[in-house]
Amino acid sequence: MKEASRTLLAVEDLKISFPVGGDMLGRHRQYVHAVDGVSFTLDAGETLGIVGESGCGKSTLGNLIIRLLKETHGRIVFEGREITALTPKEFKPYRRDMQMVFQDPFSSLNPRKRARDIIAEPYRVQTKLSRREIRANVEHMMELVGLDSSYLNRYPHEFSGGQRQRIGIARALALNPKLIICDEPVSALDVSIQAQILNLLKDLQQDLGLTYIFIAHGLPTVQYISDRIAVMYMGKIVELTSNTDLFAHTLHPYTEGLLSAIPVSDPSLRESHTGPILEGDLPSPLHLPAGCRFCSRCKYAQPICSRQEPQMREVLPGHFVSCHFPLETAEKTDASC
């Protein structure tokens, strides 16, 4: 399916922190490190899933890549060009190569614009096409995402949630981008509609050779659509590997907890499905535990885990994990705990 792999996007040690509180002079100001040292590469035509619980920084990461937020540290290289070093003006031509599909199709479409104007906007901003050409393009986009062109003059409130998400996808695809960041594109939709949108995204990827970053909190959905998956916890990627490996050879205790938290898909599996339940809540992002961020909830934690932060390392080929005692390897060396 994939042609010779070609790196489209490389993210190196990306960080962003937001100031919180403090007085007028900036005293007692604290920082939330929403994304704290994330690195990965993405090949053209690939789908990278980013999964994690709320507040783990997955959406912030998406916004950073697409330059809706400015990083405090790190580099983003897109097609060999370091886009983090560009001024907004220099970056403008790159915008057409990266687009975003948002979670909530109710708030991401301007309620005062017709469907035709919403989809036409990228053309007006980025191209010098004539009105007629824009109209033809918009109609083509509507058709591409499976909407009848008789809907062109409707306003967003006249569409259902699934149809709105299709408009959002059409808008993202308008300028023929290379990379699409999907931020929870199906979370707000009903099950039967979710399947329609996921099928559409898959079809479009095949037809147009798109590269996706698919951000979501539901592992089954992410696993269904992704080639590789990055699991995030409190601003860091804790495990990054291929879709199948993540389930077959789970290395990070947090991934293990996430997997066992997924409800069974069939009532007959209820008894056999008794994985470890992840106890406790997410720690406050203002007071992260010292050492490994996960150690406060980790049942395998050792003294070193609360002292030293584990570094991301390649434990198996193509399988990255940041843990002092990755599960499969830990069992061999230290079975007693």
């Binding site: 099950v191 979710q194 696993q223 007959s268 992840l278 106890e279």
Partner: protein, 332 residues
Amino acid sequence: MKDVLLRVDNLSVQFKTLDGVLTAIEGNSFTVRRGEVFCLVGESGCGKSLTSLAIMGLIEKPGIVKADDIMLDGRNICWLRESEMRKIRGKELSMIFQEPLTSLNPLFTIGNQMDEVFRLHQKAGKARAREKSIEMLRFVGIADPESIYMRYPSALSGGMRQRVMIAMALSCRPKLLIADEPTTALDVTIQKQILKLMKDLQRELDTAIILITHDLSVVAEMADRVAVMYAGRIIEQADVAALFQKPLHPYTEGLINSTIKLGDTRERLPTIAGTVPPLSAMPKGCRFHPRCRYATEICRAAEPPIACCEGGRTVRCFRYVDGEAREGGTKG
């Protein structure tokens, strides 16, 4: 039928609007047995939340509730006055909601809100209520109940708030707990904790639960019996195992098939074509027929009656009117 706790007979809810009377749910009947988990499942707008609000007597004008009977433990609660309903709510019948932040009052401490239940229903004094509240907080697995008792809702995490809601709802050991999407706003790992807590408490207190959800995997995890709703109608009722093994109604079948399972290798997901019709434009005949791949002439002309199938299952579909599928298999 002595173990029936709640029997709802022919329940309808209508709303008077400028466009005329809209029927949101129509002619639904079901029973909940003592100590079981009964799941109401369906997509948004199918009327599952309205059903629960109708049972709780919480539907106000312009809503109109019609029912032959709503029997709770042998007592008809359908026509009770508000003052009498108040005595039942929170005591015999209680409810937890989807978003715990909006259902807790932000201006009062957790303790203050929890005490109210005991002071109202059990006429407990201040000290006694405090004691009982802390005991309930500990009961739902809160490690440090004394300090949580003093806090305001905004200081708690989502999972913690939902635990408080559950503690509050179970304070008077109700016979029936209605949980309306209790874990939808929570993260998966917290969802797992809350679902397990509900199951444990249900076993311990022998409380019946009506669990309302759109998530079939929550149904698979929790339910004893299930009712599937579509466009205001219960279209299928069955034991959970039977439902997942062999869904009878084409809509149930579509829902189960389009749900992604972990390790799913299907190239494409089967979908249900089209969308749910709006209340103001319900199709004639079977409400599902425009989206149904088995639809025939009769489905377009008349609404199907409730057909009874083996194992006490009921389904509202013409394919099963004679007790069996009339044509074609359910699936390969």
